[in-house]
């Protein structure tokens, strides 16, 4: 015991001075200062509302009268609510079609622009224009394009002998019409990310492939796609999150109709909370949507370990 105590005393006296905690380092402090504005914004505008939504979802609250405790009743209301399930199905339908289509179109255009075309910057800017334009303005233009008889879309289809549908008022075509518009609106973002990714691929890989005599498809599959996988992963994650939050184009172009064919989850949440003043139920729906997005994103991060290749 005596030895032990002596050893400990010796250790105490001979041990080098403990470094200051990391957060007190000048470098760490600088880093925190840089992060702080973003962190404050995140806490106030993202984390705070998520926590608040969690609390509100347990209340009955019409904004004016004092809130009343509802427990899990708002979540129980989701089950028998046909509009909620319809909105969820519509959102899933939108996501399942719009995300792959957006990725295919943006990747194809990025590959085209990466072929060393002249005036690439001009084409790139032109193709990015829809993404840079306000959705509300674009939605109104597309309403005109989709007019059943005189609209440009059906006029073009008419030239090839196709009698186009009454897009935005048709049970079956209203959602595809929204998807088509959304793909047009958002492909520019993916295209720019893919183009940046393509330009970062080392040329010697392609030279090696040429020496090996690979076909263009083999080159794409075995070099371009794996090297582009981080960019692809990023675009998939952001596109899925964005498509789960689809709102403005549906509100403006169809107002959720005909029936509830284009009512999306975010639109239904907005109506529940701010038109029907049912804040608790709207918060419960928001948390379900949040849960879906978290689950899907987590699944994507799990898969990315196997499918996404980083340089290191």
């Amino acid at each position: 015991m005596a030895i032990d105590t002596a050893e400990r005393t010796a250790t105490k006296t001979t041990a080098p001075q403990q470094p200051a905690p990391r957060w007190r380092n000048r470098e760490s402090l600088t880093a925190w200062l840089f992060i702080l504005p973003s962190l404050i914004g995140f806490l106030i505008f993202t984390a705070g509302p998520v926590v608040a939504a969690g609390v509100i979802s347990l209340l009955n609250w019409n904004l004016f009268s004092p809130p009343q405790w509802a427990g899990l009743r708002n979540f129980a209301r989701l089950g028998p609510d046909p509009t909620f399930w319809s909105a969820l199905g519509n959102t899933a339908y939108f996501t399942l079609l719009s995300v792959p289509l957006t990725i295919v179109v943006s990747l194809a255009l990025a590959l085209l622009l990466n072929q060393g075309l002249r005036r690439v910057a001009v084409f790139r800017s032109l193709l990015l224009l829809p993404y840079a334009t306000i959705t509300v303005a674009v939605a109104f233009v597309w309403i005109w394009l989709y007019i059943p008889h005189d609209g440009l879309v059906n006029a073009v289809l008419g030239l090839i002998g196709i009698d186009g549908p009454a897009w935005l008022i048709s049970d079956g075509w209203a959602m595809p019409a929204l998807i088509l518009m959304s793909v047009w609106k958002s492909f520019g973002f993916g295209m720019v990310v893919f183009l940046a990714g393509l330009q970062a691929i080392p040329q010697q890989l392609y030279e090696a492939a040429r020496v090996d005599g690979t076909s263009p498809w083999q080159t794409f599959r075995n070099i371009t796609l794996p090297m582009l996988s981080p960019a692809l992963f990023f675009v998939i994650v952001t596109s899925i999150i964005g498509s789960f939050q689809v709102f403005d184009q549906a509100l403006i172009m169809t107002n959720g109709g005909p029936g509830t064919r284009t009512t999306t989850l975010v639109m239904y949440i907005y109506r529940t909370g701010f038109e029907n003043y049912d804040q608790g139920y709207a918060a419960a729906q928001s948390l379900v949507l949040f849960g879906f997005i978290v689950l899907i994103t987590a699944a994507q991060f799990t898969f990315q370990r196997r499918l996404v290749h980083y340089d290191n």
Partner: protein
């Protein structure tokens, strides 16, 4: 003067400017004792009317007037946020369809005590329909500034071109006659009738057939009752079977007014609030009473009012709010409104300011006074937004011929009944709060 600005000085100046902007942004708005009021305004012409109102308020009350004008589409959302955050104006405009909603939520205060204590204020000078629209649960929650029945606009030039006798200025035509005329006036590129594919327009036909959206107790939907079903079927047939209406291109942007202004539509169902816009038409036109169904010509009567939020404190603030409300709904103010041609004023004494054209505009006041045809106050619930939303989902599909009327009504009736129960709960809660 030094020509160069050091980085440090630049940052200091920027910081100061930012601080100044933040302080300005966080200021408390109009000074205490100002007459603040909120109203929707979606055009320069509308804004001009409210600016004139504001000047009138300043002249009458001798205090500064601060109107908060918001486009009509965003007005309810902004009003909600202001009411919740305690930053609402002393007086706020409310659409008649939302008065029960705000009253039941306790967002606005009843005015009966103020009316009773003010011998200068004559509630009898307001049209009875306006007073009904402004009341909820036996209490007056608002004072009207406009009120009007739906009327039938017709394209005089088009009817004369086809050698068709002009409809009576006072006697409403029966539905059968109206339908025959609409069919006769429909041809290539020309249509007999236009209205919005929505409950707001459909409800006039339902009232004229003797039906309603809900029963008198407002605890059950009655859209499935024979009278209401017959009315809905009649209108849907005009769209789907007779095809006397311009084809619906988009359910969101469909506008009966823009269809009528094209000049190739004979009749349009709309309110006198559109007179100011139809005056731009390049053809001759007029208005007549709404076609008469089994219950006569009793179309929807709707209007808007001013109300005082519950957050207004008793004492000097409430006194100013009441004075402001009285001024905004006074004959002098409503004369400004009516002279601009915006709509029929809610006060009988201001009626003469709403003048022709069109020639027959006087029927609006005659209908409200019960001298010609009739009208039916727009019956709404305390959750009218939800009712409207539900009907807005399912009914438009009948206008497109995608779903038969009976099927649509059968499908939405159980959900409407649930909303009626919720409405009853809201009324009970409001009554308990009042007690």
């Amino acid at each position: 003067m030094p020509a160069k600005l050091s980085r440090r000085s630049f940052l200091q100046l920027t910081g100061l400017a930012g601080l100044g902007a933040a302080v300005t942004g966080c200021s408390n708005g109009p000074p205490a004792g100002s007459a603040t009021w909120a109203m929707w305004s979606s055009s320069a012409a509308e804004k001009q009317v409210w600016d004139d109102f504001s000047t009138y308020v300043e002249q009458q009350l001798g205090v500064e007037s601060f109107p908060t004008l918001t486009p009509s589409s965003g007005y309810p959302t902004k009003l909600d946020l202001q009411l919740v955050s305690g930053t609402a104006s002393l007086v706020t405009a409310l659409n008649g369809t939302l008065i029960p909603t705000y009253a039941a939520r306790g967002a606005h205060r009843p005015l009966d005590d103020l009316i009773a204590a003010d011998p200068d204020f004559d509630l009898d000078d307001f049209y009875p329909t306006s007073r009904r629209l402004s009341s909820f649960n036996g209490k007056t929650y608002a004072i009207g500034f406009d009120v009007a029945p739906t009327v039938l606009y017709y394209n005089k030039t088009l009817l004369q071109k086809h050698g068709i006798a002009l409809p009576s200025r006072t006697d409403p035509m029966p539905w059968a006659t109206f339908r025959d005329l609409a069919k006769e006036l429909t041809g290539p590129g020309q249509y007999g009738f236009t209205c919005a594919p929505a409950i707001d327009d459909l409800v006039s036909w339902i009232y004229c057939a003797g039906g309603n959206v809900m029963n008198d107790a407002a605890d059950r939907s009655t859209l499935g009752d024979p009278a209401a079903l017959a009315a809905i079927q009649f209108v849907i047939d005009l769209f789907v079977k007779d095809k006397v209406t311009p084809p619906i291109k988009n359910l969101v942007t469909e506008s009966s007014l823009s269809n009528f202004l094209q000049g190739n539509v004979a009749f349009m169902q709309n309110g006198p609030w559109q007179v100011v816009n139809v005056r731009k038409a390049k053809f001759d036109w007029d208005v007549v009473p709404f076609p008469a169904g089994a219950a006569g010509s009793t179309p929807r009567v709707s209007g808007s009012s001013f109300a005082i939020p519950s957050g207004v404190r008793d004492g000097a603030q409430l006194q100013l709010a009441w004075k402001l409300l009285k001024t905004l709904t006074s004959t002098g103010a409503l004369d400004i409104y009516a002279k601009a041609g915006r709509n029929n004023p809610a006060r009988l004494s201001a009626g003469s300011a709403f003048q022709p054209p069109p020639d027959n505009l006087g029927i609006v006041q005659d209908i409200l006074a019960g001298k010609v045809a009739g009208g039916h106050t727009f019956d709404v619930t305390t959750n009218w937004n939800q009712v409207k939303q539900l009907l807005g989902q399912d009914l438009p599909r009948t206008f497109l011929g995608q779903v038969p009327v009976a099927e649509a009504i059968n499908g939405l009736t159980p959900r409407l009944d649930v909303l009626m129960s919720q409405h009853q709960d809201n009324v009970r809660q409001a009554t308990a709060r009042k007690g």
